[in-house]
């Protein structure tokens, strides 16, 4: 089931990543020490709700957070430390080694430029292709992402295409530089259900064909389970659990993971009442001493308030950050 051998080299290693924003003098930390690693060709999923940091992590890795962000820790990509690189150096990695696609494809494309030209821009930037050569490659990419009638569509503007088409264009653009890692931030959230299915299949196929690693970010556990081999559950700026897909859905340990799974109604089951997680997500930047989930946890104990839990391995490939369960 896992598509990567255990011996695959580590592509990306994130260690103790913290992100804080300077707001009028004081800094508020929104990411509290994230550790994760990705092997070449692996597909991982990051799942969580608003404010959990699943998107910010990657924007921080790529240096796209603007000048008010303080990003500390270590991000090693193919052995090279990314934090601390200048914007120019990072721009050589973006699109070329690490590509990112975003949630709303129609507004992530320049509305005043034809889509063919936007894809060609990446080709020129990363592979030095120009003119007829670039155009031929644009057509090839559009075919690869299964856009019908590519020759005509090349000259279309984003507003003339549907959401699903635009997402394919974004994927084509992201692939233009032949990256080793693709980050897909909520790639299907803004799309219709049947189109969602198409895009997920497409992403998976491309990953297998190119050997590229894939990070899928979503709030939808279902989407993640379709396409990711390993899942990381995030809450309020930290990773609370990490496990292979199948394991997470059958043997989740963290109360939040369990809560998320139970909160979703199923198509085939008859459930009278959904189990809910009481309370609400803490405000971004709010200072909490112990476990950030403690206020909403039905199993919270006294020592949960004392110190933040640390992510520890409990089984092969399965890590958990829960003071109570780890102590047991």
């Amino acid at each position: 089931m896992t598509s990567t051998a255990v011996n695959s080299p580590t592509l990306l290693n994130i260690s103790e990543l913290r992100i804080a924003f300077d707001q009028r003098g004081h800094a508020s930390e929104v990411l509290h020490g994230v550790d994760l690693h990705i092997a070449a060709g692996e597909s991982i999923g990051l799942v969580g709700e608003s404010g959990c940091g699943k998107s910010i992590t990657w924007l921080g890795v790529l240096g796209l957070l603007g000048k008010h962000a303080r990003v500390t820790g270590s991000v090693k990509f193919q052995g090279r430390e990314l934090l601390g690189l200048s914007d120019t150096e990072l721009s050589q990695i973006r699109g070329r080694k690490i590509s990112m696609i975003f949630q709303d494809p129609s507004s992530s494309l320049n509305p005043a430029q034809r889509i063919g030209a936007q894809i060609a821009e990446s080709l020129t930037l990363h592979r030095g292709l120009r003119g007829a050569e670039a155009n031929a490659e644009v057509l090839a990419l559009l075919d690869h992402v299964e856009i019908p009638d590519a020759k005509r569509r090349m000259n279309a503007y984003p507003h003339e295409l549907s959401g699903g088409m635009n997402q394919r264009v974004m994927i084509a653009m992201a692939l233009a530089g032949q990256p080793d890692l693709l980050i897909a931030d909520e790639p299907t959230t803004a799309l219709d259900a049947t189109v969602q299915a198409q895009i997920l299949v497409l992403l998976d196929t491309i990953r297998r064909d190119t050997g590229m690693a894939l990070v899928t970010i979503s709030h939808d556990l279902g989407v993640i389970s379709e396409i990711s081999d390993r899942v990381l559950v995030m809450y309020a700026g930290s990773i609370v659990e990490s496990a292979p897909s199948q394991t997470l859905f059958s043997e989740a340990q963290h109360p939040y993971s369990l809560g998320l799974l139970a909160a979703m109604p199923a198509l085939d089951a008859e459930v009278q009442r959904l189990t809910t997680i009481r309370g609400s997500i803490p405000q971004a930047g709010q200072l909490i001493q112990g476990c950030r989930f403690e206020a909403r946890c039905d199993f919270a104990q006294d020592n949960c308030r004392v110190a933040a839990p640390i992510l520890k391995t409990i089984a092969v490939g399965h890590s958990l950050a829960c003071t109570r369960k780890l102590a047991a």
Partner: protein
């Protein structure tokens, strides 16, 4: 696109008609030209004769109708003061106005737009605050105050530049400067907000994620999209400059269309006022039409069908 321009053109004609009609009516209702030109203690018969010879005793609608017919034949009337053709007087004043308008417009663009872009790129920094302070000062200060201040400083105190008149380049410097400050201030402000709005769009971040350097993102993706509202503002400003910067021309005794219109109004020189207004309206409307046309060239969304689509 054709339909778009056609409806815009029809609206333009309507605007011209309304402005001319309004001016026509107001001028005749607001005071007696006969009294103004002949002077208050002229004998009543002279006044009556004057009125008759100028057709001022006829009903208003008849006068207006006569006026419209004349315009269609190219006859814009003559000045009540010296009998010279009204339109000729106006046309003669145009070069003077252009001599101020064109340099001022160019400077507005060259100063205002870059200032606004810089302010947006460095939002909330000292550059931003500096530019915005100048911008606020620039368009709060009434142009006649600024004009007079400049005259006081450069003409009276330092004696470097003349205080008025129309005899050479050095006479144009102060009026152009006065016009530029106000115009650049407005343009800087609009440019800044248009840029800020575009910079906040998702496609800007996506362009960075593609691997473009920030300068490339700004030039290739932000500026073209921010240009659209700026074009509109710039177009309107140009129209206003052509209309004759009335206040500035008066302060500096500059013989342009603005000054001509003001003095004609004061003298109730009806034909000249109407001719000037007609010209000003036509130029404003034409500028707006041009802006609309350019706008639709830049924004592909306006060019395509205006109906619903997926």
């Amino acid at each position: 696109m054709g339909r778009y321009m056609l409806s815009r053109s029809l609206r333009a004609l309507l605007t011209i008609f309304l402005v001319v009609g309004f001016a026509f009516t107001i001028l005749r209702l607001s005071g007696d030209p006969a009294m103004m030109i002949l002077s208050a203690d002229a004998p009543p018969e002279a006044i009556a004769a004057f009125r008759q010879s100028w057709g001022l005793d006829a009903p208003l609608w008849q006068q207006f109708w006569g006026y419209l017919l004349n315009i269609l034949q190219g006859n814009f009337g003559v000045s009540m003061r010296d009998g010279s053709p009204a339109m000729r007087l106006v046309l003669e004043a145009i070069p003077a106005t252009l001599a101020l308008a064109l340099p001022a417009f160019a400077l507005n663009l060259l100063i205002g737009i870059p200032a606004g872009i810089l302010a947006a790129l460095h939002r909330n920094s000292w550059i931003d605050r500096l530019v915005m302070s100048f911008s606020v000062a620039g368009h709060t200060l009434p142009s006649f105050v600024l004009g007079l201040l400049l005259v006081l400083i450069f003409a009276v105190s330092f004696g470097w530049l003349p205080s008025g008149g129309f005899n050479g380049v050095e006479h144009a410097i102060l009026p152009v400067l006065t016009l530029t400050v106000g115009g650049a201030a407005v343009l800087a402000r609009y440019t800044r907000s248009s840029m800020l709005e575009v910079l906040g769009q998702p496609y800007i971040r996506a362009a960075s994620a593609k691997g473009l350097r920030w300068s490339q993102v700004v030039i290739r993706h932000a500026l073209p999209n921010a240009a659209l509202p700026i074009i509109t503002i710039a177009g309107l400003m140009f129209g206003g400059l052509i209309a004759g910067a009335v206040v500035v021309e008066s302060v500096f005794s500059w013989p342009g269309v603005g000054r001509l219109t003001v003095s004609a109004v004061g003298n109730r020189d009806l034909a000249v006022v109407q001719a000037a207004l007609l010209l000003i309206t036509v130029s404003m409307v034409a500028t707006n039409l041009a802006v609309d046309a350019i706008y639709s060239l830049f924004d592909p969304r306006l060019r395509a069908n205006s109906g619903a689509h997926q």
